[in-house]
Each structure stands twice: as C-alpha cells, then as structure tokens.
C-alpha cells in the first residue's frame, strides 16, 4: 500500500500492531475454530460479506490474517491468502481463473512437484497445463489459445541456478489478456518482487525461507490488485455473478480486493486448505528476520559456489550468482542483492559419487526440503527423481551426477570444510 517504510521495518511490523483487546505486543495465536456472532443480524451481515469479521477459521483467522497482511505488504500486493502448503496455494491461485477445458501455460523449469501437480492432477479437474521452455519468451506467445487463463513461472527456479525474464513474460501475458503467476519461493520478496515487473499473482511455499527453520508447512497467494478481471469476459468467477455466493459479483463489489476476498470466501471455504494459526505464527516469527537471514544465505551460497567451481571433484556448478552462469545477467537484474541459496552442481564420477557425497556429509542434512537455516543436500537421481527414466532425469535437471544444495546460515568455513571432506572421500 502507501507505506513508505523499508523492507526490514515492514517485515517486523506489517500486520502486527498490538492486540487491540489485550495490548499484547507479540502476535497472539488465535487457536480457535469459530467466533461468536453478536446477534442474528451480525451473523447475516458476515455471511453476506457485508461487514468485516470472523466466522470460521477455514475462511479467516486473526493469526493467519496477520501473516497475510505482512506478506502482501512485503510483496507490494493488494491482498494475500495463506494456505496449508505451497502446493495448495498453486491450486488456490488457479481455482478462480480456471474451469473445465481451460489451460495454463507453464515454464518447464519448475519444482518437480509442481510439474507433477499440473501434468497429472490438473487434468482430473478438467484443467490442462501446457509446458514451454521459458527461456524463449516467444514460446509463451505461441502457446496461447482462446482457452488460456494464466501463465505460470518461478522467478528463481527450483532446483536453482535458473532465472526467468519476468518482465518480458509479463508483457506477453498482458497482451494475451491473462494474469502471470510467479512462484517466488526461492527468491523471497527480499531478493525479488515480481509484482513490480508485471506479475498479477505471486505464490509462495512459506514452508521454505519465509518460515526459515524447516518447521512449518504453509503457502500463500499475493494478488497485485492490478488485473482487471472484467476484461474479455474470461474470468466469470471473479467478474460475473458467482453462483457460490448468490450471484455476487466480486469484482464489482470488492474492486481491487476481489481476488483476495474470493479466495477466502469461496476458495478456502469450498476447497478448505487453510493454514493452521500455529504455523502462521511461526512463519510470522521467521519473517521478522527474513532480510538478515537471506543476506547470510546468499553470502554463504556465493562463497560455496565459488569454492565448488574450483574443486577437482566437481564437473560444473549451476549458480546464477557466478559470472560463468548464463543466467548471471538476469539474476543481476531481477535479484541484485543475491542469487539465492539453492543451486545444483555436478560431481565427476556420476551416480556412485553423488550417492557417496550425501553419505559422507556431516553438517549438511540429506533431505527433501529447502530454505532452512540448516544447510541441506539431496541427490535427486537416487531420491526425488528416482522413478523417472534416465533421459527424463536429465531433462528435469536431475541427471545421475547432480547434487542440489540449499545453503543455510551456519559458519561458511564449516560448510566448505564439510563439502570438501565429503567430496574428497567420494572421489577417492
């Protein structure tokens, strides 16, 4: 909104003024399912969305609402809806836009789980995902049909090292009359704010850097408030009579808040993937230190990527912060404060060596998550991508020699020493 406060101030204060009832300075955890109505008239006004207030925590809850307000403020959005996981946020982002027969055009460089969700589960809703190589922006233009309802990309792409040209893709979306959805999980708003480059919706797995310590599942959708949903009659759920609300027209009634009101009043109400207040509370705590942590995550990652690039047991390093990366220029443009802390590298010796590295690390944790204060490592070919055929593994950036790191905020010399000894043992 109009606030001129800096990022760190907003990450501590936005959404969390003292509790009006008690004066409690820390955000209270409103561990409640429901809220009493003043009287029948008040209840009716709430159910009709004519007044602000709480009904039931599947729709809204004061603790999750605080997280929504904070994340919207940090992303420069109009409103936000938090969800039970990042995957739920992706479905919730598309839900008001799509209907059976409609299409989303997505970049191939996505988190493997997102490709899985789009390819195999969306068809069960009657939605189709078309995948294009996002490095060539014209591919998006070519994939557009009269059934296209959204574009979907990641700003900094999992498994890392790849950056999308957000502004160019947003321009194609704009001329196609559809919103661009950007998954900003790996970058966080501290590194990149996609709305400033024309994104309409920003989705997050708050499970990662936002909560920051690998404790709490969560997701979010931030709406820019800038897309005119009445354009081209493509989005009847948002800009036509919504049958799920007695014919209410959300766009007309809530203006630039239409998406956010719809995603609570219809999306969360009917699909139900609400975030637990306790998880929202932990994530709020994490976000107070987001800038500090990201600064260290990025600084450690840059040191380690440079170290690995010179290591004799390492064949290649794919980190957009390295001058050798073909995404270096895009990273400098879209995330000048750092290229994040998730990236891949290849070991000489292939599959066997990769497995030995993860077996020999002592500080790095071998697990399938990222964005933790703790440093993490995974060998995709023997874990997350083991069901895929060899050529499919390579296409997904998960070939036999690939290791993915999520660099934490420990002492960087200790991390370098750990990788060095594990690589040396594995190569021996």
């Amino acid at each position: 909104m109009t606030s001129s406060y800096g990022f760190e101030t907003l990450s501590i204060h936005a959404g969390a003024a003292p509790d009006p009832a008690t004066g409690a300075r820390a955000l209270p955890i409103y561990q409640t399912t429901a809220y009493v109505f003043d009287d029948a008239d008040h209840a009716a006004a709430l159910f009709n969305l004519q007044t602000v207030g709480f009904i039931y925590s599947r729709l809204t809850n004061p603790t999750t609402a605080a997280l929504e307000a904070r994340l919207a403020a940090l992303e420069g959005g109009r409103g936000c809806t938090v969800t039970s996981s990042g995957h739920a946020a992706q479905v919730m982002a598309l839900f008001p836009l799509m209907s059976p027969g409609m299409e989303v055009v997505a970049a191939t460089r996505l988190y493997g789980g997102s490709i899985q969700q789009m390819k195999n589960t969306y068809p069960k809703f009657g939605w189709a995902a078309k995948f294009v190589d996002g490095n060539q922006v014209e591919n998006f233009k070519r994939a557009v049909t009269d059934k296209t309802r959204a574009f979907f990309i990641e700003s900094l792409c999992n498994p890392g090292g790849v950056v999308m040209d957000i502004e160019a893709i947003a321009r194609v979306a704009e001329s196609a009359g559809v919103p661009l959805i950007v998954d900003n999980t790996l970058a966080t708003p501290w590194l990149c704010k996609p709305i400033g480059y024309g994104a309409t919706l920003v989705v997050h797995s708050t499970t990662k850097f936002l909560s920051g310590t690998g404790t709490s599942m969560g997701g979010a959708i931030v709406d820019s408030g800038k897309f005119d949903w009445s354009r081209g009659a493509k989005f009847p759920s948002l800009a036509g009579p919504e049958p799920a609300y007695h014919g209410l027209n959300f766009n007309e009634t809530f203006g630039d808040m239409a998406f956010t009101f719809h995603s609570h009043a219809v999306g969360l109400r009917d699909l139900g993937p609400s975030q637990a207040p306790f998880n929202a509370w932990i994530t709020m705590l994490g976000m107070e230190t987001l800038g500090l942590r990201m600064e260290r995550h990025c600084a450690n990652a840059a040191r380690i990527a440079a170290f690995l690039e010179k290591h004799p047991a390492v064949a290649w390093v794919n980190y957009a912060g390295l001058p050798s990366s073909k995404y270096h220029a895009l990273a400098k443009r879209y995330m000048p404060k750092g290229a994040g802390s998730v990236f891949t590298f290849g070991v000489r010796g292939g599959y066997e060596t990769g497995v030995k590295v993860v077996d020999n690390v002592e500080l790095f944790s071998h697990l399938a998550n990222l964005g933790d204060a703790k440093s993490l490592i995974i060998h995709p070919a023997s874990t997350t991508h083991r069901q895929l055929a060899d050529d499919a593994q390579v296409a997904a950036g998960a070939g036999p020699d690939v290791l993915r790191l999520s660099i934490g905020i420990e002492t960087v010399e200790d991390l370098i020493a750990d990788l060095d000894q594990a690589l040396t043992k594995a190569a021996a």
Binding site: A17, P18, P20, N48, T51, F54, A72, G255, M257
Partner: protein, 162 residues
C-alpha cells in the same frame, strides 16, 4: 480545505472526516442486497453512522430500515456528508446539490471522480474525497481490513483505533 491532485489522501485527512461525520446521505443507494452500495450502507450503519438512502427509483420504500428519499433537497435532516454511488459525470450536479444542502463533506465512490465538481465543493469550504469507498477506508484505518488479508498500510506500535 483543499487536497492537491486528489490522487492520494493522508490517513489523517480521512480519519478526521470519518471521525467527525455522523450522518450520511447516500446517492444511488440500492435496495438490492448484493450491490456495493448496500454493502457500504450496511457497514456504515453497523459502525454507528446514520445513512439516509437517496434514489428516485426506490423513493417511498425503505432500505435497511431507512426511508428512501428521491433527491438531496428532500432529505429529512441536514447530513454531514454526501456519498455518491453514481458515475463521474452524474456526480457534477450532485456535488452542487450537496453544496446547496450544506453538507461538510462530499465523498465519491471507487471509480467516481469529477475534478471540476471537487474544485467547486472545495471553494465552498467542503472537504472532498474521490475514487475511494468509506467502508474500505474505515476498515483500513481501524485495521479490520487486515482480517481479510488486505494490508492497511498503517504501521503502528499503538493499539489500532480510528
């Protein structure tokens, strides 16, 4: 009091209006429960404002317990503020009627903006807000808009109040 440009309003300016105003004439109030004006009227009533609906097509009936009058010059009371749910062009003559009525504030809804009329109102000593909704601004300033995931832009270490 005049506002330069009318593209943005200080929170203090909006707060003062919403604190001082007690009675509102709502031009274009609808009897249809799912119209934006009905939402705004219901919300403002619940926050203690008296809202008198003005709508020639609905005159003689009642909306939310208030008798509908056909025009500003048939209002039963002198209202503090005229809230305009009509298009920008139609807002012009309505502003002139608001000045003649003796209102202290003219408020034009989201999407409604008439700079010439605003200048006339300000010259006559009225305060003007354009392209905003008093329901949204009230909820934003007291902080309750954040309950629905919409940040208020207000950062404070004090308990929230209007």
């Amino acid at each position: 009091m005049t506002v330069a440009g009318h593209d943005r309003y200080d929170d203090a300016y909006l707060r003062a209006i919403l604190r001082e105003v007690r009675t509102i004439g709502m031009v274009g109030a609808s009897a249809n429960w799912n119209r934006p004006s009905y939402f705004a009227m219901k919300y403002l009533q619940d926050r203690g404002y008296r809202v008198v609906p003005i709508n020639p097509a609905a005159a003689g009936g009642t909306i939310l317990g208030e008798a509908v009058v056909p025009a500003i010059d048939t209002l039963p009371i002198r209202v503090d503020m005229i809230d305009i749910f009509r298009n920008s062009e139609a807002a012009g003559p309505i502003v002139d009627e608001a000045i003649a009525h003796g209102a202290k504030v003219v408020w034009m809804q989201l999407g409604v903006r008439n700079d010439a009329a605003a200048a006339r109102a300000e010259a006559a000593g009225l305060r003007v807000v354009m392209n905003r909704c008093p329901k949204i601004e009230h909820a934003r300033l007291v902080g309750t808009l954040e309950w629905h995931g919409v940040p208020s832009g207000v950062i404070t270490s004090k308990k929230r109040k209007l």
